[in-house]
């Protein structure tokens, strides 16, 4: 086959909604875009453990502690599923880690905000995991097989994350005045960054069209954001909390909420590295990696030694 006919064959599979697998021919751009998207997602799961991990020892009860620990452990798992999916495209895990640690690769900006109170654990589960689910469910049907299968696994596990967060918010909002205020304060701080999680508006998102064609993306940023606003506003009513947006208004004609303008300047500023916690997150991650080096080396040396011992025994026998 010529490159041209390879391309034709690929386009045909994409149009017929047939899954692309690792050994299939694929255009370079498709491969590159996937590696970028999957690894960014993996990095987000890994860095995403930090803002919550920081509250495990301070969770208010044993039940909350077990739940938060299980959630953070799930996020580690999500990172690992996704790194493996990226590796099927021909990058190594070390390359991916290098890109994260050197700051070359991005992760979701939401994790560059601080977690100030216990209510933030509620707001993150409810809003951040909620937004992540909105983003991720359509990806269970993405065109690249290993990515789609990883996403099915991730989505199955995410729903408890959102529920436990909502439960924390519900408990606080029905609690004392101080607790209710704490919940509202966390909501105020996490609402806008959560809306930014869907990425820049469609008009400024040049990759969207190609990615939708490739089924790497199945809905646009603005479509997903609107969907998130519509369901979350209803949930806020159940909590008795106020959405921190003066311009929020039901639009009968559209059957959706109209909302206020997002501060995209803040978004780009955090993306560029100037968010409240960018430096701290990356440093914590690098420190964990560097301090684990002797463990990785020792395990490798031990495995090597055992292998040699086994080979010697086999020769002697």
């Amino acid at each position: 086959m010529t490159v041209h006919s390879f391309q034709e064959h690929f386009d045909n599979l994409i149009d017929r909604e047939i899954t692309i697998e690792p050994k299939d021919w694929m255009p370079d751009d498709y491969r590159k875009t996937l590696i970028r998207q999957i690894s960014q997602h993996a990095h987000s799961e890994i860095i995403g453990m930090l803002p919550e991990g920081n509250w495990i020892t301070r969770a208010p009860s044993l039940r909350r502690k077990s739940v938060l620990l299980a959630k953070v452990q799930d996020e580690a798992g999500h990172g690992l599923y996704l790194y493996s999916a990226a590796e099927t495209l021909g990058v190594t895990r070390d390359d991916l880690y290098d890109q994260l640690h050197s700051g070359k690769a991005k992760y979701s900006s939401i994790f560059n905000y601080p977690t100030l109170t216990w209510a933030d654990m509620g707001a993150i589960g409810w809003l951040v995991d909620g937004a992540a689910i909105m983003n991720q469910v359509p990806l269970c049907r993405t065109s690249y097989g290993p990515y789609a299968r990883a996403m099915v696994r991730v989505c199955k596990e995410e729903s408890f994350h959102q529920r436990q967060g909502f439960e924390i918010m519900l408990t606080l909002s029905k609690g004392t005045e101080v607790q209710r205020k704490m919940a509202q304060d966390a909501f105020n701080r996490w609402w806008w960054p959560s809306l930014m999680m869907f990425g820049p508006p469609d008009a400024e998102s040049p990759h969207t069209e190609q990615s939708v064609r490739w089924r790497i993306k199945r809905m646009t940023n603005d479509e997903l954001r609107q969907k998130f606003i519509d369901v979350t506003v209803e949930q806020a009513k159940i909590l008795g909390l106020t959405v921190p947006d003066k311009n929020l208004k039901w639009n009968e004609e559209r059957g959706s909420y109209d909302s206020g303008a997002i501060n995209w300047e803040e978004f780009w500023n955090v993306v560029k590295g100037n968010g409240p916690c960018n430096k701290q997150r990356l440093e914590t991650r690098k420190k964990a990696w560097d301090e684990g080096k002797w463990v990785r080396d020792a395990a490798m040396a031990n495995a090597e030694k055992r292998k040699q011992r086994k080979e010697k025994a086999a020769q002697a026998a």
Binding site: Q73, G77, Y81, S84, T92, D95, E157, R296, N302, A303
Partner: protein, 96 residues
Amino acid sequence: MNNKNEWPLWEVFIRSKAGLDHKHAGSLHAADEKMAIENARDVYTRRQEGVSIWVVESKHIHASDPDESGSLYDPANDKIYRHPTFYNLPEEVKYM
């Protein structure tokens, strides 16, 4: 590519319950087979998804080439008589 210090890659297969086949679950890195099984437990069976785990170092997997699928599966293409639906039976024959 740099992967000199990387733990090798393993493919993980999980039997979800007695009586079923092991099925590919995904992959992971581990220094040796013991660690691969332990990591597979933590990564792929946090919700009792398995009763048995196989791990195989990825480099030992040999796979067919998708570009040769045409010729590889060709011998089966024109043998529809291997399927029961190929045969016409009189209506009176109910269970066969």
